[in-house]
Amino acid sequence: MTDNLQPGSPDKEPASEEQAAQVTLGNTEQAEAATTPTAPHKRPTLGRLFLENLWAANTFTVTLLSLVLAMVVGAVLMIISDPKVLATYAYITARPSDAINASWTLVSEAYANLFKGSVFDPGATTLTAALSPISETLTYTAPLVFTGLSVALAFRGGLFNIGAQGQAIMGVVLAALAGFLLPLPYGLHLLVAVLAGALGGAVWGFIPGILKARTGAHEVINTIMLNYIAVYFLTWLIVQNGVQDPNRTDAISRPVDASAQLPRLFGEPLRAHAGILLAVLVTWAVAWLLNRSTLGFELRAVGANPDAARTAGISVTRTYVLVMVFAGALAGLGGSQMVLGTTAAALTPLVIAQIGFDGILVALLGRVKPWGVAMAALLFGALQAGGNRMQSYSGISLELVTVLQALIVIFIAAPALVKAIFQLRAARAARLQTSLAKGW
């Protein structure tokens, strides 16, 4: 076994500030606790502190500015892909107002729809219509919380779980099978289906975990491969007898029984379901696991420095396996939301959309901390919900949301770039590093 198989191991090369920061990733929270001024000898006023911090390159400012930068790039994409608006740029030197007005109308309308679709629509007249954007946002948020937590948990243990997609697929498969094959009463049926989802994901997480622990096979490679194996398994399973909907010829499974579906939160037309409550509960549980439990301590120790953890008597192999099983179970729960919630009731080849890959972005945006992940999932859920409205009202393709999401994370991942663009004051580097550098 060579050095490069140990993620997060301290580099033998001369360490720089950034590298030191990357190694401490697992201990971000301690680092933050340590940097909070606890012994104020010359305490500045609260207001002054606030103003000073506002333009410093801290987590919040960088996140906000990344969002702004992403939206600016999104606006440019909208303008260059609209032939009518682009035509006004042909005579921009003669009448610049035309180009500016046309661009402003296009972009502001699109982003206004993004907001109306995800947060609040001022034009809403009924209570249902007023609640609808929030309901949509929560519907999209719930599964992302789980997949985001899955990736974040593995990250803290020093593993990069790109397999959330595959684990979510195995989760959705088992949850759906339990949902329409088992004749169980209300309540119990839902519980069994949710647990089946977690089990499916856990099994799919166990494989790369045990391979990493026993043979040193890199989890990034294995999880990528397992993602595709899961996809093909799903497409094969859907068309089997007993699974495929007998009334359909296309690739769709039987629908999940009503007794296994998550209850709606705000009544019939609104789609928000109890999955979001489960998501909050699980976020709390993961936060507890990471910060208060022995396993969490061992996990963070292994993530920060496996060699030191091993010296301290922690079984690294056991931790790797457990981390991946937990991460898989979380992703499986996320997948189960896609058939037990209101998004769909039956398996289709694309039933879980991109929630696994989005989970990676969510985890990075949330700085791999449980509550941060939950907030990041909320932002991504809002973008998704708003994107739907933007597509139907402004004719801006939903793909723009994918672009925005990717750009936000690119900027987050390179805080030095954001800092340079906006001339931010330097803040402590440790809080800004989101990713840990490692090889295959």
Binding site: R214, A217, R310, T317, A437
Partner: protein, 423 residues
């Protein structure tokens, strides 16, 4: 580095050497082939025609006889490995065993096909294999260039997609295949430029960056596809296509001729690039520097190699190659559609790893994966009992087995994925 509490299963001591383990696996496969395939095969003649259809000359064998015969060959290869086999015979024996296993499987499948379809057109199979392997070859070459110089390239998918898109867009606007080809190379290198800047300058984790760039490429191409190509397909999505070039003399070789030497520019380019990359990587000064930067950048730097500059250049070059690979779709076969690469970039990554980070290895792995893909199509056409999805899983399973050390150990360049900070 010694890792005390990790049980290393791959490196064997004592009786169960790697050769014996592989021998045991082959023995099991041979038994499976002889008994199961032999029993399921029918007495029909299995015909492997040397043409594109049932007509013409063919290699023929009775289904049951073939399945059992080739199964026995696999069995024999396994037994030879279990007995003392000189080390130099390991690879040839493994190849013989596996090929015989596949042939036994084919004898069963072809003989059990519906009446009138008991033939396998070899020209189609070979041509399809190469066609399906094309983006994989370009993609895994891009991976070789990147990773040999120490930058993990998970963004192959994004580079292929961006290449396919810009090839289609600018090929359509200009009406010229050559403009499209250049645009595809530029599109692919745009994604890899981002990869280079963020991973080399801003030290972002390279795997993270690769994943995000894949999504970015998916988003941008999908967005512009819906905004431009769907609204005005005639103007933005009707790129001209490269025609097939027939190479005189070589195209008259049976089976290989019509399958390989009547192809389009991308096929020739891919094979040429494999050759060029192989020679460049292992026989030139640039190659030595690239490999040393990928294995031990500090040592290379000490000797005066410009580590970061070399990494920038190689990563961008890799993007251009992957971009051309993407264009092998849009400038030769199909018009652009959303997410048209559909995971091929990740199979290319698998081919790169399976081929152990070498150009020729990547080519062979890509062909193997292409063959699995083509076989899935063929078996679908003859209503086989083997679901195509399981054959489609084969590349991914093979890669997992490879990295887990079950078929020999694969090892990445030592500095792969580690940012280099001059200090």
């Amino acid at each position: 580095m010694a890792v005390p509490d990790v049980a290393v299963a791959a490196v064997d001591e004592g009786y169960w050497t790697r050769t014996r383990k592989v021998g045991l696996v082959l023995l099991a496969l041979g038994l499976l082939a002889t008994v199961l395939f032999g029993a399921l095969a029918t007495g029909e003649q299995a015909r492997f025609t040397l043409s594109e259809d049932a007509a013409g000359a063919a290699l023929e064998i009775n289904g049951t006889v073939g399945a059992i015969l080739f199964g026995l060959i696999t069995l024999a290869a396994g037994a030879a490995m279990l007995a003392r086999l000189p080390k130099r015979w390991f690879i040839p024996m493994l190849a013989v065993g596996l090929v015989a296993f596949v042939l036994s499987f084919l004898c069963w499948q072809v003989s059990a096909a519906p009446t009138g379809q008991n033939f396998m057109p070899l020209v189609n199979i070979v041509r399809g294999t190469f066609l399906l392997a094309l983006p994989l070859i370009f993609g895994s070459l891009a991976g070789v260039l990147c990773e040999r110089s120490g930058v993990v390239n998970v963004a192959i998918e994004g580079q292929l997609l961006m290449g396919a898109f810009s090839g289609a867009l600018f090929g359509s606007i200009s009406g010229s295949v050559w403009v499209g080809l250049v645009a595809a190379a530029i599109g692919g290198s745009f994604i890899s430029l981002l990869l280079a800047v963020f991973s080399i300058k801003y030290l972002v984790d390279q795997v993270v960056m690769g994943i995000v760039l894949n999504l970015l490429a998916l988003g941008i191409t999908g967005f512009l596809y819906e905004r431009l190509m769907q609204t005005d397909a005639a103007r933005y999505n009707s790129a001209p296509r490269f025609s097939n070039w027939e190479i005189p003399l070589l195209s008259d070789i049976p089976v290989l001729g019509p399958a390989l030497f009547r192809g389009n520019i991308f096929l020739y380019l891919a094979l040429l690039l494999v050759l060029v990359t192989h020679i460049a990587l292992f026989r030139t000064r640039w190659g030595l520097r690239t490999r040393s930067v990928g294995e031990h950048p500090t040592a290379a730097d000490t000797l005066g190699v410009k580590v970061l500059g070399l990494r920038y250049r190689n990563v961008i070059l890799a993007g251009a190659i992957a971009g051309i690979g993407g264009a092998s779709y849009t400038l030769a076969l199909f018009s652009f559609t959303k997410n048209m690469i559909g995971g091929k970039g990740f199979i290319a990554l698998a081919a790169l790893i399976f081929g152990r980070w070498s150009p020729t290895g990547a080519l062979l792995a890509a062909l193997f994966f292409g063959f699995a893909d083509q076989l899935a199509t063929y078996l679908g056409a003859i209503n086989s009992v083997i679901p195509g999805q399981f054959l489609a899983m084969l590349p991914y399973l093979a890669t997992i087995l490879a990295v887990a050390g079950l078929v020999g150990r694969v090892r990445a360049p030592a500095a792969d994925g580690k940012p280099y900070i001059k200090g």
